[in-house]
């Protein structure tokens, strides 16, 4: 093999790319993993992770200069002094917005696997069936039973902590011991169970933080600093988990600064022969050859690569023959919920900083419940005692004020909803050829919004939380709704959906591009519907399943 030829190429090093690389390498393939950003080494490059709060110059705030340089990141909570280096340069990598779209990108080794929220839930049979039952978009080509063994497979390796709840619509998995609900959350869980006749459940979040040792990784230390990178390897990331496993096989080559500009399509064999990259340091164009390609560049960038590939055959790009490439973009809508004060529990407190909260699984449009919209939402929240930034009656200045703030305040509880967004053909990304990025490449235009179903759901997302808190005795309940532009949930999905029919979908049931069978797409772009559960665990399972199929097909000379 010459130095530019591999068995498989993986585009992207985030959660999906890391899994693809690990699984392919462990099956004996020589793999090249391409990452458009620079290196970011486990532990060594977690530069802020061991700093104390007072060692941050701006104590967590960003500067006026950073606000100008990263306007998109500053639309939400992602702008924090510790992680500003993680975000893609918005001047170098622009995009245009026909409708507001918040795109949070991290271009460096590991992608957003370092920054992710780690909440890990399975989709259920109900989620896989919903499109078909309701006549929405197209049906999933797979069911829960197809993915269940792969959920087992990835959970065992990633390490997901959680409690078994025996809920059909939120299947249990292979869990490490659950983290603890705190005293107020436990009390609320019991009250909710009783008030809603065991039909609503407040459970501890299922999270990819280790509550038991896994070889080579240390347990979560409850510092709650995950997104700075964990020096203990206490949560799942490419760096802590899949990358070392892939490296250990001796089969992996990682190439940073490699922006994949297109999949190289061979008209005669109707297969991809590799990819073309732009070296972002030298501006050189280089070709790499392989038998199979896994596109895991994240939902929008995977669509971008496909738009730019095989345009001499399909003007809309590789996978565009159905007319669905770039369409049906989804996310989870949130930034809406309720919170209030909890009386009592003054002689109880917590120890440690739990990087997790409670989860209230979906309860609407379920088991006889019927709403004026389709699908549903879950809640993620927590209870805690207030800190030094609270208001104290009658005290504003002076020693008594300071000493009062040095003690914890009363308990509060609150949650935000995460709602499902339906796949709409009109919600799309396209190439905007009028503008170019730093390297002269065309950029993406975003044209997607919430529609009637989501807006109706939002009313319920807010009111149900308020009603639930009031029902279980929470006082002074406040609601909020700060609106939701697509992308803000950082759960972009659906630009290259799976389906049963090449006329209406981009990928088949094995995540193969219908039009090019040796190209597999296993990041969020493959999603046919979104569910309301955090999606990363599903990408992991789909990736591992697709690799297993790809390698067996390769061995049979079918691709």
């Amino acid at each position: 093999m010459d130095s530019n030829t591999y068995d498989a190429i993986v585009v992207g090093s985030g959660i999906s790319g890391g899994w693809a690389a690990k699984e392919l390498c462990e099956k004996g393939l020589k793999v090249l993993m391409l990452e458009r950003g620079g290196p970011y080494d486990h532990v060594k490059d977690y530069k802020t992770a061991q700093k104390n709060p007072w060692e941050f110059k701006h104590r967590g705030n960003t500067t006026a200069e950073q606000k100008k340089k990263y306007p998109v990141i500053h639309r939400g909570w992602a702008a924090s002094e510790a992680v500003m280096d993680a975000w893609a340069d918005e001047e170098d990598c622009p995009y245009t917005e026909t409708k507001p779209f918040t795109w949070w990108r991290s271009y460096r080794m590991g992608g957003r696997s370092i920054l992710w929220g780690r909440q890990s839930y399975r989709l259920s049979q109900m989620d896989f069936e919903a499109n078909e039952k309701e006549g929405v978009a197209v049906a999933w080509p797979i069911g829960y039973e197809d993915l269940a063994p792969w959920y087992d497979h990835v959970e065992k390796f990633a390490g997901i902590s959680g409690s078994k709840e025996n809920l059909l619509h939120l299947p249990d998995g292979h869990f490490l011991p659950p983290m603890e609900l705190n005293c107020v959350e436990k009390d609320m869980a019991a009250r909710i169970k009783k008030a809603y006749d065991d039909k609503r459940h407040l459970i501890i979040g299922r999270t990819a933080n280790l509550t038991a040792e896994i070889p080579g990784r240390t347990k979560c230390q409850f510092r709650n600093r995950c997104w700075e990178g964990c020096p203990f390897g206490g949560y799942f990331s490419t760096q802590s988990s899949t990358l070392p496993a892939a490296m250990q096989t001796g089969n992996l080559t990682v190439r940073p600064y490699s922006l994949v500009t297109q999949v190289l399509y061979d008209k005669d064999s109707k297969k991809a022969k590799g990819v073309e990259i732009l070296d972002t340091e030298t501006n050189q164009t280089i070709e790499f050859k392989s038998k199979i390609v896994f596109l895991c560049a994240s939902t929008l960038n995977t669509a971008w690569v496909l738009f730019n590939s095989a345009t001499d055959v399909w003007p809309g790009g590789l996978g565009s023959s159905s007319g669905e490439l770039g369409h049906n973009i989804m996310d989870h809508h949130y930034n809406i919920g309720a919170s209030g004060n909890v009386e009592g529990f003054e002689d109880q407190y917590v120890y440690g900083r739990r990087a997790n909260g409670f989860y209230i699984p979906r309860f609407v449009n379920l088991g006889g419940d019927k709403r004026d919209y389709l699908r549903g939402f879950g809640y993620q929240g927590g209870a805690s005692r207030q800190g030094w930034s609270r208001e104290i009656a009658e005290l504003n200045i002076g020693g008594d004020f300071k000493d009062a703030l040095s003690e914890p305040g009363g308990w509060t509880i609150g949650a935000t909803a995460f709602g499902e967004i339906l796949p709409y053909h009109e919600n799309k990304v396209t190439l905007d050829k009028t503008k170019k990025d730093k390297w002269g490449l065309p950029i993406l235009n975003m044209d997607a919004e919430l529609k009637e179903n989501e807006l109706k759901m939002r009313k319920d997302m807010q009111q149900e939380m308020k009603a639930m808190l009031e029902t279980v005795g929470v006082k002074d309940v406040n609601t909020w709704d700060s609106g939701h532009a697509l992308g803000h949930g950082i759960h972009e999905m659906g630009t290259a959906r799976m389906g049963k029919d090449p006329k209406t979908s981009v990928l088949n049931k094995w995540n193969q591009v219908w039009d090019c069978k040796n190209v597999f797409v296993t990041d969020g772009s493959c999603m046919t519907s979104s569910g309301c559960q955090n999606p990363s665990l599903t990408y992991m399972a789909l990736t591992a399943r697709a690799v297993d199929y790809a390698v067996s097909e390769l061995k049979k000379n079918n691709i």
Binding site: P53, H58, R75, W77, R223, G387, S389, K402, E407, P408
Partner: protein
């Protein structure tokens, strides 16, 4: 979070990022005297008690740095002009500049300023809402300088080493989580 306490949004925080840009920000030079003044303001808001005060945690210089690094030019000016305004108030009430007033005079002065600032900030929020209904590009009204001073004092102190370790309790690596531990009045909050 600090917003709650001072009645409004955290100045210089993300909530203010409505695309406003006030041209070139020039660094304001806070003299040694200015920084001593800010230390005195901070130490009046959070004086030494069982734990060190804000001056010991160098909150004055912290405020000056934050105003230069993180504030928009309009807020920078308001903050800087606030030093003279506060001194003028002090002279009116006590015949001397703020740093020379007695601890009790300083405290009373800041208590009344705090009330004034809270009233101003809540009125500002309401007026801005009305104005934005008429003109969606309405640039907004200036913040009260004392709101900024108080916000930065609280942030600077409770995130300082003195604040974290002596006013509060800090453990870098807790190692575990327990959701129900006994608490008795007087125990410090976790940093």
């Amino acid at each position: 979070m600090i917003a709650l306490l001072t009645g409004g949004v955290m100045i210089g925080g993300n909530a203010l990022l409505t695309g406003c840009s006030n041209g070139q920000g020039k660094d304001i030079v806070f003299s040694k005297e200015d920084q001593d003044f800010l230390n005195e303001v901070a130490d009046t808001i959070l004086p030494p008690t069982k734990s060190p005060g804000a001056k010991a945690a160098l909150v004055g210089p912290f405020m000056a740095m934050m105003v230069n690094d993180c504030y928009e030019p309009a807020d920078q000016r308001t903050f800087y002009e606030g030093i003279a305004l506060l001194n003028a108030d002090s002279k009116k009430l006590t015949q001397v500049e703020f740093v020379h007033a007695s601890p009790e005079q300083k405290k009373q002065l800041l208590i009344s300023l705090d009330a004034e600032a809270k009233l101003y900030q809540s009125g500002k929020a309401a007026k801005e809402e009305t104005e934005r209904k008429k003109d969606k590009d309405f640039a907004g009204m200036p913040n009260h300088y004392f709101t900024m001073m108080k916000q930065l004092t609280l942030l600077g102190y409770f995130s300082s080493e003195e604040g974290c370790k002596q006013a509060l309790r800090y453990i870098a690596i807790p190692g575990s989580y327990q959701g129900d531990v006994p608490y008795k009045k007087g125990d410090k909050a976790w940093a």
